[in-house]
């Protein structure tokens, strides 16, 4: 069964005007959350916001019934969620969608996140540690202020950074990072989440190097649980729902124009 319940806001931490982490307390026991799962958040009393908004689950604390999300402000809904006050109630539906593959056959993996696409990778990092898989996180953003949670990621693996303006890490796009041309580049799997062009670029590199690549798509959604068919992506087997058969897909399964 899914959780459909009002959750109490217990903390909102702003990293910049456009980036924050919101933590909420669940009234019920949180079911097992897998890396890649997402929630649909109801944004009440916001003119122009009618549908729920989907967000990857950033982290969970099962014992204290806490669930958190990393939100990047891009429009009305994402701005408003950050204006909630401690104690306010927000209605959530979760866990939704499929999850990233964690294979005990893997020894080393590369995890590439851009913008809000880093959100599912804390839970993935934890799984990697649990399974003894060595993870390298490659995080990209426009500038230093977009690069957050690096300390958290460092708990689960090496952290590499790129910024477009060069204010932190290597200058350029994530796919221009020197790791990709390093002679030591040897990974069993690549995971990517972020803007479509970034995921496509990562998928191309993975394809060239013959490495399995999993991407998590962020198509616009009306429901988030498989009943409206609005969120589809074209795959080798026809249109599939990103909210149910996804959001995580093997990049080779997708019919991307690459």
């Amino acid at each position: 069964m899914k959780v459909v319940a009002d959750h109490k806001v217990v903390n909102i931490q702003y990293f910049s005007e456009e980036n924050y982490v919101i933590q909420m307390e669940s009234p019920v026991d949180i079911p097992k959350i897998k890396p890649g799962n997402f929630a649909e958040i109801k944004v009440d009393n916001t003119p122009g916001v009618f549908l729920r908004r989907p967000f990857s689950i950033l982290d969970v604390d099962y014992e204290n019934k806490l669930i958190s999300f990393y939100v990047k402000v891009i429009g009305k809904g994402t701005r408003y969620i950050g204006l909630y006050e401690i104690g306010d109630q927000i209605n959530l539906i979760y866990p939704l969608g499929n999850s990233f593959t964690v294979s005990d056959k893997d020894r080393k993996v590369l995890i590439v996140g851009g913008g809000s696409g880093i959100a599912p990778f804390i839970l993935l990092g934890k799984e990697m540690v649990k399974n003894g898989i060595e993870a390298t996180f490659l995080i990209g953003g426009r500038s230093q202020r977009d690069i957050i949670l690096t300390k958290e990621f460092a708990k689960y693996g090496d952290v590499l950074v790129t910024t477009e303006d060069g204010s932190l890490g290597e200058k350029g796009l994530v796919t221009q990072h020197s790791v990709f041309i390093s002679p030591q580049f040897k990974y069993d799997r690549i995971y990517a989440c972020g803007p479509d062009p970034m995921m496509k670029a990562v998928a191309i590199i993975a394809q060239q190097k013959e490495i399995t690549c999993e991407v998590s798509l962020e198509n616009t959604m009306a429901c988030g649980f498989g009943i409206c068919l609005c969120c589809v992506t074209a795959t080798q087997e026809g249109n599939k729902r990103v909210c149910l058969e996804g959001p995580v897909f093997n990049s080779r399964y997708l019919k991307w124009q690459i």
Binding site: G48, F50, R52, T220, A222, F225, C228, L229, V232, G238
Partner: protein, 303 residues
């Protein structure tokens, strides 16, 4: 507890709350949220004779108090439904109603004939109002002669309850209703989505891949109420009201305007439990106003 039972043609519904086609899948996904047997009925996703992939993404745009969709009747075809979906839902203690689509009268007939033998599909809803397909669909539902032709053809091959779903994209809804009643419809459901459009000003491009799409949600409720009321005064067959129903008060308004039952559509996306809350709310309203049965308020609007 007030009596919530209603009759549509010769079918008894345990309550007047059903869910709209295309907004509830085939029910399977929703079983994760509640016991579907609590519903009066389930209008399943539109079916066609062959597999349809639907339109390319993006197929959805949020609008003020509503949304546009351009799904384009994505479904795996009637045979897949019969072999792989029907077996999973036929145990449900609720009416399963198939939403029938075609691009020609022959296709409507073919789909319908295959549904005749499914014991638990107690009725069909003839969708002559889908704005999201190029051929057929709404084209049948916006002119009286073609609406009559397809209803008449289906009436000849379908013996169970025939519900015809009307398009709001017409000038005279009462005329359409009389036309399909005359051609043998046992019940009329309305409204389907209103043809609409959304534009991204920054990109100077339409948001939907199809440019236009179907508008649903609270934005269309006033239009739907008006049309239900007009149709109620034009025909004798029972009406199933649809359009922007989000809560029990909305549902009550549709009963007062003349609906015998209602369909909850877009509301399912925002609150998967919406239909259950509406059932409770209707009961509460009836008790508060001392009505014994929901049938007492059908068409009760005082004008």
């Amino acid at each position: 507890m007030a009596d919530l039972k209603v009759k549509i043609h010769n079918l008894e519904f345990k309550n007047p709350v059903t869910v709209a086609s295309g907004t509830f899948g085939f029910g399977e996904e929703m079983a994760e949220f509640f016991d579907l047997s609590l519903l009066g009925g389930i209008f399943v996703k539109g079916l066609t004779i062959k597999n349809r992939e639907g339109h390319v993404y993006p197929r959805m745009a949020e609008t003020p108090s509503g949304m546009l969709n351009a799904v384009g009747l994505q479904n795996k075809g009637i045979d897949y439904f019969i072999d792989h979906i029907y077996p999973n839902i036929k145990h449900l203690d609720t009416h399963i109603i198939a939403n029938v689509n075609g691009s020609t009268v022959e296709e409507y007939i073919e789909v319908t004939e295959k549904l005749n033998d499914l014991e638990k599909v107690t009725a069909i809803e003839l969708n002559i109002s889908c704005p999201n397909v190029k051929e057929g669909g709404m084209l049948f539902g916006i002119s009286c002669p073609s609406a009559i032709a397809v209803t008449d053809a289906i009436r000849k091959v379908y013996k169970k309850t025939l519900i015809v779903k009307l398009s709001p994209n017409v000038t005279d809804i009462a005329e359409m209703a009389r036309a399909v009643e005359g051609a043998g419809a046992d019940s009329i459901s309305l409204i389907n989505t209103l043809l609409g459009m959304a534009i991204n000003a920054e990109k100077r491009k339409p948001i939907l891949s199809t440019i236009t799409g179907g508008l649903s949600g609270p934005a269309i409720k006033p239009v739907a109420l008006r049309m239900v009321w007009q149709v109620y005064h034009a025909v004798k067959v029972p009406i199933i009201g649809i359009g922007g129903i989000m809560n029990a008060t909305d549902a009550i308004e549709f009963f007062l305007a003349g609906s015998s039952a209602i369909q909850v559509g877009t509301a399912n996306f925002i609150d998967p439990m919406a239909s259950l809350k509406i059932i409770d709310g209707i009961n509460e309203y009836l008790n508060r106003h001392s009505f014994q049965s929901v049938n007492e308020i059908i068409g009760l609007l005082e004008t």
